[in-house]
């Protein structure tokens, strides 16, 4: 049994990042990650990474609030003090772009989006299949579809933004 501290060190950052990309909300991602680890304390998993990420994704689904409806967050607190802060308009542009990516991701099927985000965290096909409860043979097709849709959706969002 892997102890919880090791699990935390190994997977916490990756889990938060995946949840952030999944929900679009940094605070919510961290809260969900904490809850996921709390559950791991109660029922230590044998195969931790798929288990942790599966639990986390289930929590996202159960939790009815969808971050995408909350709108864009201007993350003003990310200025870093001693270093020069990015100019406000630069930060705004970055935040615009992030919102665009989130909107594009939202247009994918839930399963496709999750597969893509797990891949981005370094999961291999077997691990994605296990985490999502899919057949391993279906992962290539799932990712192919997800990637295609994401690129199309992102480009469309770009066009829409330029036009508006």
């Amino acid at each position: 049994m892997t102890d919880i501290g090791t699990l935390f060190q190994q997977y916490h950052e990756s889990l938060v990042r995946m949840l952030y990309r999944r929900t679009g909300d940094r605070d919510r991602a961290e809260d969900l990650a904490q809850e996921t680890f709390a559950r791991a304390v109660e029922a230590p998993p044998n195969n931790p990474r798929p288990w942790l990420f599966a639990v986390a994704l289930n929590l996202v689904r159960e939790d009815g609030r969808r971050a995408s409806t909350r709108g864009r967050r201007l993350e003003l607190y990310r200025h870093e003090g001693p270093q020069a802060s990015p100019a406000p308009d630069q930060e705004f542009v970055r935040e615009e772009d992030r919102a665009r990516v989130r909107r594009a991701l939202e247009r994918l099927n839930e399963r496709d989006r999750e597969a893509l985000l797990l891949k981005a965290e370094g999961f291999n096909y077997d691990e994605i299949a296990e985490t999502l409860g899919l057949a391993r043979g279906a992962i290539g097709t799932t990712l192919a579809r997800a990637r295609k849709k994401l690129v199309e959706a992102y480009r469309e969002e770009e066009r829409t933004d330029v036009a508006s």
Binding site: D3, I4, G5, T6, F8, Q9, Q10, H12, E13, S14, V16, R17, Y20, R21, R26, D27, E30, Q34, F37, A38, V41, E42, R73, L76, Y77, R78, H79, E80, G81, D97, R98, V101, R102, A104, L105, L116, L117, K119, A120, E121, G122, F123, N124, Y125, E127, A138, I139, G140, T141, T142, L143, A144, R145, A146, R147, K148, L150, V151, Y154
Partner: protein
């Protein structure tokens, strides 16, 4: 083999096709121009998709949050507070009337969840739970860089040489020896940093390397690039890294040689070998 579907092409690019299928597909690709084009398109799609997702990066928090009406701890303290919280939770759940032996779960390695070598050991808001923990936390805020260097020296390869399994980045937590039943001694624990396999003899000039394999030889390339030569079960594999600006036309290659070229971080990377394209795609996953 008939024309592959998109799923197979993507599985090939991800290095996830089983060897027999990869070999069949490789043979088909040698003969089919149309599918080679589709393969290039799949690769481009994969690259662009990765870049899009990567824009949603996760910067570690340094400044306190101004939202939600509370001062949020920075990321490292968050990890620590969470771990401390887990200690308390587990202690509460598992603690028996006997107080002498702490629950096994307190043999936790609680460390900073995000170790950045350059991060200043800034005083952070004390964690939520225990005063004692806070004290140790400040003791633990020792010079981070010294420990990180020691850590890298001790790093061991995490993938056996020659093993071509497609694995996630080698992030392995350091595991100091189990603690006595006293609980967590935070001041003894080095700050957490992902343990990456220490390269055997990678020249300093090489920005990337193949994880899990040892460099057989290296030579500089014109334009400031470098070629690393690896051996995969006896078959040589050349790994070229050339500044994109300096990258000229690819050198002539033999009919039996396969090549994979892609841009990354301002460099043009090339894998060249007699191995099948599917194998090269697998190796590509191991570029670090």
């Amino acid at each position: 083999m008939s024309h592959p579907d998109d799923g197979q092409l993507h599985a090939l690019v991800d290095g996830e096709l089983p060897p027999e299928e990869a070999a069949e597909l490789d043979a088909h690709l040698r003969a089919c121009d149309a599918c080679r084009v589709r393969l290039d398109e799949a690769r481009a799609l994969l690259g662009e998709s990765d870049r899009i997702v990567a824009r949603l990066d996760l910067e570690p928090r340094r400044a306190p949050r101004v939202t939600r009406g509370r001062t949020g701890p920075d990321y490292r303290v968050l990890g620590l507070a969470a771990s401390a919280l887990l200690v308390v939770t587990v202690g509460f759940l598992a603690l028996r009337p006997r107080r002498d032996a702490a629950p096994a779960a307190t043999a936790m390695r609680t460390e900073d969840s995000v170790g950045r070598a350059a991060a200043p050991a800034a005083a952070a808001a004390p964690p939520v739970v225990e005063d004692q923990t806070a004290l140790r936390r400040q003791e633990a805020a020792q010079p981070v860089e010294r420990r990180d260097e020691a850590k890298v020296e001790r790093a061991e390869p995490t993938v056996a040489a020659g093993q071509l399994a497609n694995r996630a980045p080698a992030v392995v937590a350091d595991t100091p020896p189990a603690r006595a039943a006293e609980g967590v001694a935070l001041n003894d624990l080095p700050p957490w940093k992902p343990k990456v396999a220490a390269p055997a003899t990678v020249p300093a000039a090489a920005r990337f390397r193949l994880d899990g394999l040892d460099v057989v030889s290296s030579q500089p390339l014109p334009g400031g690039g470098i070629r690393l030569v690896y051996s995969v079960n006896g078959t040589p594999v050349e790994f070229d890294q050339v500044p994109a600006a300096a990258a000229g036309p690819q050198p002539e290659r033999d009919a039996g040689t396969n090549e994979l070229t892609w841009p990354r971080d301002g460099l043009q990377l090339t894998l060249r070998s007699a191995l099948a394209v599917g194998e090269l795609e697998r190796l590509r996953q191991q570029v670090r």
